[in-house]
Amino acid sequence: MKNVSNLDNMGHYKIPNSGHNRDDEAKKLGMWLFLFTEILLFGGLFFVYAIYRFKYFDEFKIIAEHMSITLGAINTVVLIASSLTVAMSITAMKKGKDNVAVLLIFITILFAMTFMVNKYFEWSDHIHHGLFMGADAFNNLAKGEGMFLFLYYFMTGLHGLHIIVGAILLGIVAYKIMNGSVNQDKLVFHENAGLYWHLVDLIWIYLFPLFYLLH
């Protein structure tokens, strides 16, 4: 026997309660599963780094001297501070302080921009010194040194791309808070964007020592 109540007025089958029940837990779990794929994406690159670090131990040490610990440290502080402001914006939402949350998100986006501007100066400086694929200075480097730079551009570049995506996501969150579609009782979108942002911070926590400190 067909269950008549599961058919809509056009006679199409309809999943019971579809579109009526919100499942925040499933959304959050889905976000975490996505974050796991991100970890495996960067994980593969970390494995490549590990192999070449062993293979070209001395060359990695020499070329890493070109990295500015100061710039790296500033970006680390900026990124951890941005993680703080995102976490605080979620805390603010839970307390029902929407305006504070929006302000904190704007500060986070400002931190993201600071990070990227810093990165721009850093990369420009390397490129200016010919430390980029195809430049003469690069071609004269030992194989391991070139590999370090290749991994440096690839990994920090991919990370930078995540910063841009994360900042855009947070901008959407701020917009949604302002139009009321993200609010104290419905903030899973905000929380998921926050999780993404923290993951970006998490990856930098490993990139910083691997590319800047170990020389």
Partner: protein
């Protein structure tokens, strides 16, 4: 919903930030103290990074307020990641 007993607060967010700042300073100091690229230096740097990562995941990503299923999943991913590292190291060492 399991986060009603201990909800996040500005204070706990700020404390986590403070700890992360101290650990950042520590890892920079340690990189000089351990002399760069020795096995010790790499181990210390990765060790401190992992402690920082734990604080981010637990306190900022709110895993400490979440259901046990998230902890199990994260544990499995760490295990998967660690087993890849071990396989990689073994493969490299006996190649």
């Amino acid at each position: 919903m399991s986060d009603h007993s201990h909800s996040p607060s500005y204070k706990s967010d700020l404390i986590t930030f403070g700890i992360l700042m101290v650990l950042t300073a520590l890892t920079i100091w340690a990189s000089y103290a351990t002399g760069g690229t020795t096995v010790l230096a790499v181990s210390v740097a990765m060790g401190i990074a992992s402690i920082k990562a734990t604080f981010v995941v637990r306190n900022f990503m709110h895993i400490k307020y979440d259901d046990v299923i998230y902890k199990i999943f994260i544990g499995l991913v760490i295990l998967l990641f660690a087993s890849f590292i071990v396989m990689l190291a073994v493969d490299y060492a006996y190649r």
